[in-house]
Amino acid sequence: MQVFNTLLRRELGIYFGSLNGYVIVSTALLLVGVCFSDLVMRLNMEPTDMTLTEMFFSSWYFWLIMLLSAPLITMRSFASEKSSNTYETLMTTPVTDIQVLMSKFCGALSFHAIIWLPVMLSMLILRFYVNDAKVVNIPSVFTTYFAILLVGALYMAIGCFSSSITRSQIVAGMISFTLGMGIFMLSYKALYIMPDTGPMLQLLTKLSLADYMNDSSRAILDTRPLIFIGSLTFFFLFATYHILQWRRWR
């Protein structure tokens, strides 16, 4: 555990000890702020039966931040270690591949959690001023945050995987963005591109991340998408682990 904790502290130190981390956080917060004020203006202009969390997570702002921030957070994880050769000094200490992988994944996920924390706090602040459960439903704030962490875990795993297969951070970021976008687009394929009802539509609906976020923002916790996202996260981490192992065999 000592090695894992040391590596995790180092990972978090990279995010908060450099400008990169603050740039990602401030960009994400700027977009959230713009989105939030936009939604509050819409609430003032026209009546709606949706809660604020529901409105926020069905907006394109949320997915823009999610899809852009994940590659930015994870692209350096393995690629920069490989390009600067510090990977060699790291892997010749008594650490295991799984400790290195999990520390990088957990470090990225923790940073992701920190990025989204102010959004949740702003929801709670609004609830304090509005005092209307129809606008901001407190349980839905928590289920939404949980869903953000879960979807974030999937995107961080994709990011770690992408970073492990190349020495270039830019290439890692592009692969991560493409894979993340591909999985996200499945949701919209189900909603817009395949209007007919059939087994394919049913399957795509089950794989829809957007639907899962919408459900969570209504305080609905469904185990099916939870298992799906969890399995996909595990799959990418497992693939990354084997790529790290492969190094010894080249």
Binding site: Q2, T6, T89, P94, R247
Partner: protein, 328 residues
């Protein structure tokens, strides 16, 4: 623990590494005793870094085995990594960390406790003369200081074996001297394996040398023994003021002279370069006595042992000749 021979720190048997069709190292066999400073010598691309990377468990060999401190580098790689301090070529470091924090971080990774890692970081900073820069970011340090940080990192867990890949690469002459002295000092407590393509460096720091070329071991022996491989113990240079014919006949009668080359030097002196057989003892005293008896002037009398560079050129040339013969 699976230790076969407690005196051996490194035991390499039939180690081969292939990258596709390219053979980086081929059937290497050598061993390093505990407490030795051994140099892995060879030109660029000889397979030195590949050998060190395999021994430090960073990559696997295609075939063959190696044991470090009695542990198999593949099956017991974690045990091996607990016992080594490794500084790779070009010394990669986390440039965004401060020197002391970096050393503490590395000590923690190598399994030291919080208090112990702090103490060891301070100790190695003293040993490597880093106390002046302990709060500086590694990225802001000069190359010489960075190299010392790399060395301090290799030492921080007080490992049994220290592996250094080209430790003086890119340093200025003063820094090179300081690093060499540091490596020599390490030899009193640790086993050290260093790689270098600079022959003089290996000659200065190592007791034993393994010469690699094109992935094969050309020789593995004490540096002094290797010098006798060339079949001559020493070369004597003497500048003597004497009649040329008398000088020639004197060398003809002199015991042990294998070859002599006489050339005119300034002020009626002759420069005599004398080669002696491998079994000959130091003849300088006899040469002095001979000059004194004949009332000849003597203004220089020096012994030139063949350098490791001569040995290296001799061995690599022999290998090339052998290969050419095989092709024919």
């Amino acid at each position: 623990m699976g230790q076969d021979n407690k005196d051996l720190m490194i035991e390499v048997k039939g180690l081969t590494k292939r990258y596709g069709n390219f053979i980086a190292i081929s059937n290497l066999n050598f061993s390093v005793k505990r407490g030795e400073i051994v140099g892995l010598l060879g030109p660029n691309g000889a397979g030195k870094s590949t050998t060190l990377r395999i021994l430090s468990t960073f990559m696997a060999a295609t075939s063959g085995t190696a044991r470090v401190a009695g542990f198999d580098i593949f099956d017991q790689s974690e045990e091996v990594r607990k016992r080594i301090g490794y500084m790779p070529e070009n010394n990669p470091l986390y440039t965004d960390m401060r020197v002391r924090d970096y050393l503490k971080f590395r000590a923690r990774l190598k399994g030291l406790g919080i208090k112990e890692s702090r103490e060891r970081a301070d100790t190695v900073m003293n040993e490597c003369d880093l106390t002046d820069v302990y709060r500086k970011m590694i990225g802001q340090l000069s190359l010489g200081y960075r190299q010392r940080v790399g060395l301090a990192d290799a030492l921080v867990s007080d490992p049994e074996l220290i592996i250094l890949d080209e430790p003086t690469l890119g340093l200025d002459p003063n820094q090179i001297r300081a690093v060499r002295q540091l490596i020599k000092n390490l030899g009193t407590k640790h086993t050290v394996l260093i790689s270098s393509h600079i022959l003089h460096e290996v000659e200065m720091t190592c007791k034993r040398v393994v010469i690699l070329n094109q992935g094969k071991i050309l020789a593995s022996d004490d540096t002094s023994h290797l010098q006798s491989i060339m079949g001559q113990a020493a070369r004597i240079v003497a500048e003597i003021k004497a009649p040329l014919e008398e000088l020639k006949s004197a060398w003809k009668d002199f015991k042990g002279v294998a070859a002599v080359d006489i050339s005119a030097a300034s002020g009626d002196f002759y420069r005599c370069v004398l080669s002696f057989g491998a079994e000959a003892s130091d003849p300088r005293e006899q040469i002095y006595e001979m000059a004194k008896e004949n009332h000849w002037g003597l203004r220089e009398l020096t012994m030139q042992r063949p350098s490791l560079e001569d040995v290296f050129v001799y061995l690599t040339r022999s290998q090339e000749e052998e290969e050419e013969e095989e092709e024919e």
